[in-house]
Symmetry: C2
Amino acid sequence: MILWVAAALLLAISCGETVRSLDETLLTSPDGGLTLQFGLSGSGRPYYALKRGGEDVILPSGLGFDLTDGTSLKDGFAVVSVEKDSLDETWTPVWGEEDKIRNHYNEALVSLKDSLGNAMNIRFRLYDDGLGFRYEFPLENKLVYFNIREELTEFALTGDHTAWWVPGDYDSQEYNFKECRLSEISRYCEEMRIPNASQEGYSPWGVQTAIQMKTDAGLYLNIHEAAVLDYPAANLLYDPARKTFQIHLTPDAQGVKGRLQAPCKTPWRTMMVCPSATDVLASRLILNLNDPCVIEDVSWIHPVKYVGVWWEMITHKTKWSYTDDYPSVQLGVTDYAASTPHGKHGANNENVRRYIDFAAENGFDAVLVEGWNEGWEDWFGKKKDFVFDFLTPYPDFDLPALNAYAHQKGVRLVMHHETSSSTLNYERWMEKAYTLMNQYGYDAVKSGYVGFIIPYGERHNSQPTINHYHYAITEAAKHHIMVNAHEAVRPTGLCRTWPNMIGNESAMGTEFRARINPGHTAVLPFTRLQGGPMDYTPGIFEQDMSITAPGQEGKMHHTLCNQLGLYVTFYSPLQMAADLPENYERFPDAFQFIKDVAVDWDRSIYLQAEPRKVIVTARHPKLSTLNASAESLAKLPDGRKDVISGAARFVYALPEDAKSLKGATPHDVWYVGGVGGPEEQTVTFTLDFLKPGAQYEATVYADAPEADYETAPQAYTITRETVDASKQYTLRIARGGGFAISLREIL
Amino acid sequence: MILWVAAALLLAISCGETVRSLDETLLTSPDGGLTLQFGLSGSGRPYYALKRGGEDVILPSGLGFDLTDGTSLKDGFAVVSVEKDSLDETWTPVWGEEDKIRNHYNEALVSLKDSLGNAMNIRFRLYDDGLGFRYEFPLENKLVYFNIREELTEFALTGDHTAWWVPGDYDSQEYNFKECRLSEISRYCEEMRIPNASQEGYSPWGVQTAIQMKTDAGLYLNIHEAAVLDYPAANLLYDPARKTFQIHLTPDAQGVKGRLQAPCKTPWRTMMVCPSATDVLASRLILNLNDPCVIEDVSWIHPVKYVGVWWEMITHKTKWSYTDDYPSVQLGVTDYAASTPHGKHGANNENVRRYIDFAAENGFDAVLVEGWNEGWEDWFGKKKDFVFDFLTPYPDFDLPALNAYAHQKGVRLVMHHETSSSTLNYERWMEKAYTLMNQYGYDAVKSGYVGFIIPYGERHNSQPTINHYHYAITEAAKHHIMVNAHEAVRPTGLCRTWPNMIGNESAMGTEFRARINPGHTAVLPFTRLQGGPMDYTPGIFEQDMSITAPGQEGKMHHTLCNQLGLYVTFYSPLQMAADLPENYERFPDAFQFIKDVAVDWDRSIYLQAEPRKVIVTARHPKLSTLNASAESLAKLPDGRKDVISGAARFVYALPEDAKSLKGATPHDVWYVGGVGGPEEQTVTFTLDFLKPGAQYEATVYADAPEADYETAPQAYTITRETVDASKQYTLRIARGGGFAISLREIL
């Protein structure tokens, strides 16, 4: 259906470059709560505005582009047509927080043409929980190939909202969140930029997407982007005078901020508008704006709960490297077999077998092993092109034998591809590396992008590098490989389209240890996790680094129960139990929750939330994926399905040594998790989501009365009781604390 | 053997940064003609100088580097040791101008250390015909990873020599040569930089390697480089005040001019010193400084004489593209089958079959077909990343059927991979593209690098791109594929190490048509061809573009016989007969020489030479490679050895329709070729290289008396006579002219 915009609309726009109001409504959200206004300024610049229940949410905000050839797409436009549409569909994610997602919006495609004949269309989708819009450039256009100097999209806000943000950067998202008023961003921006491995030359103040905001009226707003592909990722520059964010894209090696070829479209720009914080967590706006899954056979994609030879390296107990003999390594030339091992190499056969045994005993699906391959002696900070070959193990890592040993125990190894950000080199070896994985039965890879990008001058968040990440995902899919990319650009919902993208880091994760501020994990689900799951690697029971790795320093800012809560509050189909086996063995009763918890869900309920303060979530496991890893292992020649996942044991109430699910009856099971922030608090919630009339055995893992992240981080209580849907809990959450509850129906 | 440099040497150096003389001789050439001096300045900067018969050739010239971290490697050095060595070996090239090459030098490795503990060694090799030296950085060094801001190597000359040069550039070598005095370089540098497809931002005046010079005393000097790998290519900046060239390296996307990791070495810097111009042509200095062949089985590498669906596109008679329907192509999305062909697509089945027939009838080994694959509608000038997939033919190019048709006729197709300089994209598709070639029996690829390099900001001659070309060569070798890369960096003798690198363009070739100055082809063998063969694509019989392609303009600056001469004066194991079949059919008697001439040699004699004026060369074919292509074709499932090469027909004196060499007796055969310059001239030479006592049938293809590149370019005479070793020829060469002689022993 094509509607012509009323002439009144065009005339209603005030003259001049600043538009004070847009009176004409272009779209209304399905529930009528949100209305979108669109119009052109006197000079022909397109503007939009957003209201909720008649109140302004976004004031008239400019749209358009400056191009590198000196021209621009920001004035002289006239509306050619407006085409309206709507959709109300329900789709089934391969994995996720629920088994059905509703995608319900009203849409308008506004076709514009400027006085030079340049066509620029804007597609708006208005949901009940927010707005998405993107620019589209049709093939039949004066513009065919063109380069962006800057995207001029604005978000003009109505007040000095409270905001939770990380500082702008072209390469890294690994920062603590700051909570402050918008007007204070410039004051804190530099101090929030703590050093990391990829900082070079960029320092305009500003923030990254996603930014979570709260108005003084209690409305939760969130600016993000969706489906960032073949386009750079955005920062947001804040102009306090105009209370306006403007997009600031990541430049490529030649300073270009997007090289476009019509027909093409930009990523979606999004503004989530929610009356409560739990609604933000329940929003599927970003996923819905991405394209449906394009992988036809998804049977090989499955959730993974894993342990890994990793934390011992992060904490400097062992090392990724093998020898201290060489100041410089040349792959294929340096003879490791002839070198003297320094004796601290973590990925050695004996140690990896120990982790495999631990995984099998405790119902984990997989064991990540980092530092298995040649090159770790000088991989970092050298801008070294040929840094790894992803094929050649160190002498003490018997790749075939370790995989066989793991498969015999019903466990898989997770491959590790640290690229050192030499994407050029990774692409040269990728096909061989994925083929090696297929050969030995690896079906998941953790990739890493630490350091400066090669091709020289590119950025982690620039268009060519974003295209590289996508290339890695699509090539992996051909090999039936799941990818968990660390240090890559923050995800923007692409996992809907490519569900083998089972994880990302793209934020400050556990590896930052004592540098993580309390409350950090109570912000991430509002921001970073909106775009897709994070491999946060929770589960650190031992906060004191000097105990984990004698001689090291630092204490992490969380209680033990906080870490348990994360397995529920953080959604990821890929969850690690990150601490050392020996640390878990010291707390077997608390570790039981990590063993029992599922990682994929058919229902999620957000019971309580406030950014940086608290998140309480209840989730119901998706039975069909509970044992998927064991199922897929059974397809391996040497695979034996003799170990089943811990969550399956819990759901089927099987003993620890159960070898089969055959004939077992599933119990209705829920998990509840809570994480707090920097202040002590009490939360109250009811279990009204439980099956009416049914009785459940509840196991509550809670901060002990004396628990506190600084003074008693390991103080916890475990209580068991029989409950039903009427049960109301009032729980204390310590500073940096949390809790977890497992609920199993009593049959 | 380690010798300590005499203290006297160190003391003999004058103080200050300019060194006036170096008295101590470090090395003498095997024949005693050249002597190399080395020493340190008062500030500890290393200097070298070169004399011939006691006369200065290179005055004391500084060595060293500035590094990007602000430090330098140019003073404070002391000599730690001097290690001397020598070699006299003869090696066998897989293909070349002769079947045995002598590599005979005296060597000194000077180990230096500066006051900061940085080790920098310089390896000098002194040959009878020139000097090579390079820097080497050992592993045990304070410097491990370091980046070059500039290489400070100098060549201080003794006078205002005459020079033949092309202007400096980071991307292209496709320029006419200028002949002038060194002092005039700056005056002409800009005007010589005619526009080409890769010019962006670079304009410091200077020249490229190789530069040919001649002293007023008649000594021929040539500055070049050898074995440029994992290092940028060099320009040379000339300082008229000091009569000194200094290296000016090609920067990468971040301005770095070489990222080094010890242990490592730079390319060789070379100065050829020859008493005559023919000695320059006979020099194997550049090849000798490269490493020996690393390909174990070279049986699949063979010379190729070919025709191609190419000149008709260059002349705009037909097109690479298929349709005018789309302003922009998206590979895999754009549906060519549904498009309207514009009707001028050259690589269509019928036309390709016509070329295959022509090749088979005339004894050519292969047919190049450009424009066979999707994407040519918008491949150029867009900086388009995913520009070709190297796999998908246009609808009217039946790849399997055409290869089968060619093989049936004893001919191979030559693959074409135009990368549009998107090396990133080429590397993504390379393995699949080479595999496709193997599948259908292609064993040679012409690759192209037109336009700006992607990764963005890289240069054709920067280190990462040079590493890309090498990657393409080494990956091709794994597939038994020969590579002829156009627009890639000028070669520097790497074909000794990787003889599947059978050709390069890397200079202004035939495709420049009327823009090529007369005399151009009489300079190239002194400069460009020193580094390896050029796919110059000679053989243009029709100089007038309006005849070849009605509606086009321009007349090329050569006579028909000039083009025949090039098949002998230009060495390449890959030689094209570039003109249209229909143009050859107009001159069947002259075309006979192209059919008869060989392309690989066991002996070459340089009879007469002067840069830009004249080159006369005699060559003797290498029988073992005469029919190599047919031999290798026979290995194909559908290959039939029923067509033998034209040169084999000539050597074995077989009729045109001969199907087998069985039982045939080779005749002793020589070919002589001559090319001239902008002026008319007469050359005189004797055939004293012929077998004593034997009689030969000589066929002389010569410029007719009225021939002239402007007024009568197609005027030629063909004469036949019986000659022996006493025969002396005196031949007129027209302006832009040349000649060719075939000599077949009468048995």
